[in-house]
């Protein structure tokens, strides 16, 4: 430490100049920042690491405090979860429900968001955003009445419909702020060149909106994949999604912690892999509208 202090020439830290964009921060602050950020990252990551580690332990090792970090890893828990409990079926259920509800929501949500952004239909936008505000249970009760009488409970249709309800407001919200920040000159230019309004939307605006569509689509997939409440009530034995399947794990008297953690890893890892590769889109989606106020 002393050497670095000695080798730094005094002239290198001039008095602040007005136009300098960034100022040299004091060393103490730099150290504080590194420590604080490391702690933050550790706090956010450690529990997830712990979940993963526990999924590699036998139940005996989980109960043994001396084997907190030093143990013989085993894949038995994964074998147990994936082999015996029809988890592949649940994974496929989750996947299809999330994918289809996302696609259908994009199809009806994107044009709506476009119209709302283009024609500043604030009142209509509020109707769609109400879907985000209303607690899911208050819709679930009447849905359950209606769909039980139509004998649809336990089918995929009702699951996709209910998950569209999660996806649609999200997609409309993200796409409104995306279209709001997109210049429309190109589209107007295309209309001068002879395209109709709808033609210009389909051929110019939509292709230009691919990043926005990706953002909305990925986020809606994630939220649908993670959703628990709707599937808990509306799914049947064959249409259970992963979160519901995991929840059913704990209804037994004693918990098989190893397998439970393996199941938790199975549901979390796909979504995290998607998140890692698409983090740019996720961040822009989550922060959509945050800066406009």
């Amino acid at each position: 430490m002393t050497t670095t202090l000695q080798t730094r020439p005094v002239t290198e830290t001039p008095r602040p100049v007005r136009t300098a964009p960034r100022r040299r921060k004091p060393r103490a602050y730099k150290i504080f920042r590194v420590v604080a950020l490391t702690l933050t990252v550790l706090l956010f990551i450690a529990p997830l690491v712990w979940m993963f580690i526990s999924s590699l332990k036998t139940n005996v090792d989980i109960y043994d405090a001396s084997k907190t970090l030093f143990f013989t890893p085993t894949l038995d828990n994964y074998d147990n979860v994936l082999g015996r409990n029809n988890y592949f079926g649940f994974i496929f259920n989750s996947f299809w429900v999330a994918l289809l509800s996302t696609i259908f929501s994009l199809i009806i949500g994107v044009p709506a968001a476009y119209a709302m952004s283009r024609f500043t239909m604030h009142r209509s936008a509020i109707v769609v955003l109400m879907a985000r505000i209303i607690p899911g249970v208050s819709l679930l009760v009447p849905w359950y009445f209606i769909f039980a009488n139509m004998r649809m409970v336990g089918g995929f249709g009702v699951l996709i419909l209910s998950h569209m309800f999660v996806a649609l407001p999200l997609i409309v919200y993200i796409m409104i702020s995306y279209f709001d920040s997109t210049p429309l000159e190109l589209e107007e230019q295309a209309q001068v060149d002879g395209l109709t309004h709808i033609g210009a939307f389909l051929r110019i605006t939509l292709p230009l909106s691919v990043p926005g569509l990706a953002t909305a689509g990925i986020l809606s997939f994630i939220f649908s994949w993670n959703n628990f409440m709707f599937a808990l009530v509306l799914s049947g034995a064959n249409t259970k999604t992963l979160p519901v399947a995991i929840f059913n794990f704990v209804s037994y008297a004693s918990i098989d912690w190893g397998s439970l953690m393996a199941a938790a890893v199975v549901v979390t890892v796909p979504i995290m892999v998607i998140a890692l590769f698409t983090q740019k889109y996720i961040v822009s989606g989550l922060t959509a509208g945050a800066t406009k106020g």
Partner: protein
């Protein structure tokens, strides 16, 4: 046939002109009809159920009972009002800590540094993790006998805590989990707001000799007001509706003493664990009115501030 050939293009042109002229409603209506059908009809039905004694099965006969459900719920100091209180404690407490913590972390991340990308990845992971899996993960960590949390406490000589299983510790513990999972969201939103600020007011304050705390408190924070309010609204809505985490960790009724029973858990339990649809609908209508009232206050104040 010739007439067909001659009329079809013009018909198509007519449709096309019509479609282009009415594209505003053509584009917006599918989504609005969908949301309308799935909101308006269910809300109407919930309102209807709230004045009936519907119970047991969805096909059972029910009778109109007027407003007696509302009297019953509003005078219920056993389950309803404690649930309202827990909802406020959970939402308000978590939100306040998330905002303060989130602002600190956002300020740390504000100026570019090496390894920035990795920090961002790290704070993204809790956000996308499945809430039910997160609940299970913390159940293991907070297990009174084998959990890592008590292990850490034993290293520094603090006696083991019941955490999730305690009557008075469960709600704070779950607030902690909520803070763990959603502070990153607050960080991202505030960071987006911070990075969109222009440097000039900060520079001007610096030249006037303001120290970093004064610059934050008198310059940055006022400029961030809109972002902070948007963050409060969005995070607040979701926190009020928290279900996955509470139900996954504590199950029906929010535990044996109803220690984490918020309005959402209470209403869900009444509906699907006890099939008491009439009372459940009443609770839901009141819950809905409460949320609308909160939203109205927040957005009304925002408009008032703006003008």
């Amino acid at each position: 046939m010739t007439t067909m050939v001659t009329t079809t293009p013009s018909m198509w042109r007519n449709y096309s002109t019509w479609a282009n002229r009415n594209r505003k409603w053509l584009f917006a209506s599918p989504a609005m009809i969908f949301v309308g059908l799935l909101i308006a009809v269910p809300l109407g039905w919930t309102l209807y159920l709230s004045v009936t004694d519907s119970e047991g099965s969805v096909r059972a006969k029910s009778n109109l009972v007027g407003l007696s459900n509302y009297f019953e719920v509003l005078t219920d100091t056993d389950r309803f009002w404690p649930a309202v209180m827990r909802t406020f404690v959970f939402t308000g407490g978590s939100l306040a800590i998330e905002l303060i913590l989130g602002m600190c972390i956002a300020l740390l991340l504000w100026r570019p540094f090496r390894g920035e990308k990795w920090v961002r990845v790290a704070i993204l992971l809790p956000l996308v993790a499945t809430p039910v899996a997160v609940g299970m993960m913390w159940r293991l960590i907070f297990d009174p006998n084998i959990g890592f949390a008590n292990q850490v406490l034993s290293w520094i000589g603090i006696p083991a805590q019941p955490w999730l299983s305690g009557q008075y510790t469960a709600l704070p513990t779950l607030m902690f989990v909520d803070i763990w999972q959603w502070t990153p969201m607050v960080v991202l939103m505030l960071l987006a707001g911070l990075t969109s600020l222009s440097d000039e007011p900060d520079e001007a304050a610096r030249i006037d000799g303001a120290n970093s705390w004064q610059r934050f408190w008198f310059v940055t924070l006022p400029l961030m007001r809109a972002t902070v309010i948007v963050t409060i609204v969005l995070r607040g809505i979701d926190a009020l509706k928290t279900f996955d985490l509470l139900y996954a960790t504590k199950g029906k009724g929010g535990g044996s003493f109803h220690e984490v029973e918020t309005l959402n858990i209470y209403a869900f339990g009444l509906s699907f664990d006890y099939n008491d649809y009439g009372i459940a609908s009443t609770v839901l209508i009141l819950f809905f009115l409460l949320i609308i009232a909160i939203m109205w206050v927040l957005t009304y104040r925002r408009k008032a501030n703006r003008s």
